[in-house]
Amino acid sequence: MSEQQNYEPRVVAFLCKWCSSAGSDLAGVSRIQYPANATPITIPCTGAVSPMYILSAFNKGADGVLVSGCHIGDCHYIEGNFLARRKMHLIMELLEFIGVEPNRFRMSWVSAAEGAKFAQVITDFVDDLKPLGPQEKLKKAERA
């Protein structure tokens, strides 16, 4: 039990530059505290998130992967998030299909104005990941 309490999930968060990264900036400006488990990687648009990134993050040992972008209709690049929604749906379904816990992958829409929502998304994700424990299924074993 105590081990689970001490366990800190490692999350890779792909944030689109225009909305979710700006939203996380707003969370910062507003000093909203949230868990430090998610390391952000800013990409131009969720449409630029290749499913390979998600598989690769899990392969390298991520306990959770978050993809966050602009709300539908708000994409800076007009339709990047529409393309992302379809791709991410497919990869999510595939991961669940082979028996990866559904809570390990998450997608969210966080606008530049939603600093509080960004903090909440991370907080909820980390809360949901903790009971799952470390992700070993897709992780590359360092010594075999």
Binding site: P51, N59, I72, F82, H89, I91, L138, K139
Partner: protein, 343 residues
């Protein structure tokens, strides 16, 4: 019922008139019952062509090979290639055309309907024959007839047919130049996605137990990829066994390849390979089932592709290989694509 002589006549005729440079079809193999791909280039060879339940190969792969060879030799394609294609094979050709891999006029599709049957699953047959080695297989209505050392053996096709054929919705090559056999579209020998649905009924843990077992067993011989007409990439992004290197390729480009996975056939790497393949086949796989048939260690690879196929169909209304025009599944979207999973 298809009369093989019709296919032979077509092939002979076209070769004699010089309308095609090759006819890709099936012929007797040297090792017993299974047919093998045949590349017929002269009218006299046309009689080698056969059509039987072991004609499982998706020959559209060889249209891809042909394009690669032509590109390597820097030659134009010239006269078209004729190809014998079942429903699923023809849909593969449609996807290749959709992706501009070659032009419609480069290929002459000799369509064959699977009618009430489909092709054989040798694994199912082996368990029915108990060690008896068949030397020949033939269609006969809804049955298959096998020639063995112990005489003729007749089995209802449904009992030894490949699962994908049982589940096939359109056992007919809609895209064709000439077609033989009756269009039995709508025949349904088994519920589509039946195995998938059964599998999905299990919990996350059970699903993982089964898949991790299979992922552990993959040798990464790449037969699934090599036999797949859709896996035509010159260099596979995940693990390349081919590098498209030209004189223009810089040293940096050669060095800076993303190593998504290691060459070691370890579970984690195998997963990344197989899931990437499934993702890359989403909306492109026409369920010819060749990957699963080729797999030497019996990994149910087809189920991964099936999963994507069903998602595409049910969530996005997308049917791979349905039309030559139009955008690919992942290069397009609909305003009302499901988004409930997004927070």
């Amino acid at each position: 019922m298809i009369n093989i002589q019709d296919i032979r006549d077509t092939a002979r005729d076209m070769l004699a008139k010089g309308e095609v440079r090759t006819v890709i079809g099936y012929r007797r193999g040297s090792r017993g019952m299974p047919a093998e791909p045949a590349f017929i280039t002269s009218p006299e060879q046309a009689d080698e062509l056969i059509w039987d339940p072991t004609c499982y190969h998706n020959l559209s792969l060889y249209l891809v090979h042909d394009q690669k060879i032509l590109a390597h030799l820097r030659k134009a394609s010239g006269s078209p290639i004729a190809i014998v294609a079942k429903g699923c094979d023809a849909r593969s050709i449609v996807v290749l055309l959709q992706e501009h891999y070659f032009k419609r006029e480069d290929v002459y599709i000799i369509g064959v309907s699977c009618e009430g049957t489909g092709v054989l699953d040798e694994r199912k047959l082996a368990s029915q024959l108990n060690g008896v080695q068949p030397t020949l297989a033939a269609f006969d209505g809804d049955d298959y007839v096998f020639t063995t050392a112990e005489g003729e053996k007749r089995l209802p096709a449904r009992e030894v047919m490949a699962d994908r054929c049982l589940e096939c919705r359109i056992p007919f090559p809609k895209e064709h130049n000439v077609v033989f056999g009756e269009d039995k579209t709508g025949r349904q020998l088994a519920e589509p996605f039946a195995a998938l649905t059964r599998f999905e009924a299990q919990g996350t843990g059970e699903r993982w137990d089964i898949w991790s077992h299979h992922f552990d067993r993959c040798m990464r011989c790449f037969a699934c990829r090599s036999v797949c007409p859709m896996c035509y990439c010159d260099e596979c992004v995940v693990d390349s066994i081919t590098f498209p290197v030209t004189q223009q390729t810089s040293a940096a480009e050669k060095a800076d390849r993303v190593r998504w996975i290691e060459r070691s056939a370890m579970r984690s790497e195998n997963i990344t390979y197989l899931l990437t393949r499934a993702m890359h086949l989403a909306g492109r796989c026409t369920d010819c089932g060749e990957c699963e048939r080729a797999c030497p260690v019996n990994i149910p690879i087809r189920m991964l592709n099936n999963k994507m196929e069903r998602e595409a169909r049910e969530k996005f209304g997308y049917e791979p290989g349905a039309s030559i025009g139009g955008s690919s599944l992942v290069a397009s979207f609909l305003d009302n694509d499901p988004g409930d999973f997004i927070r």
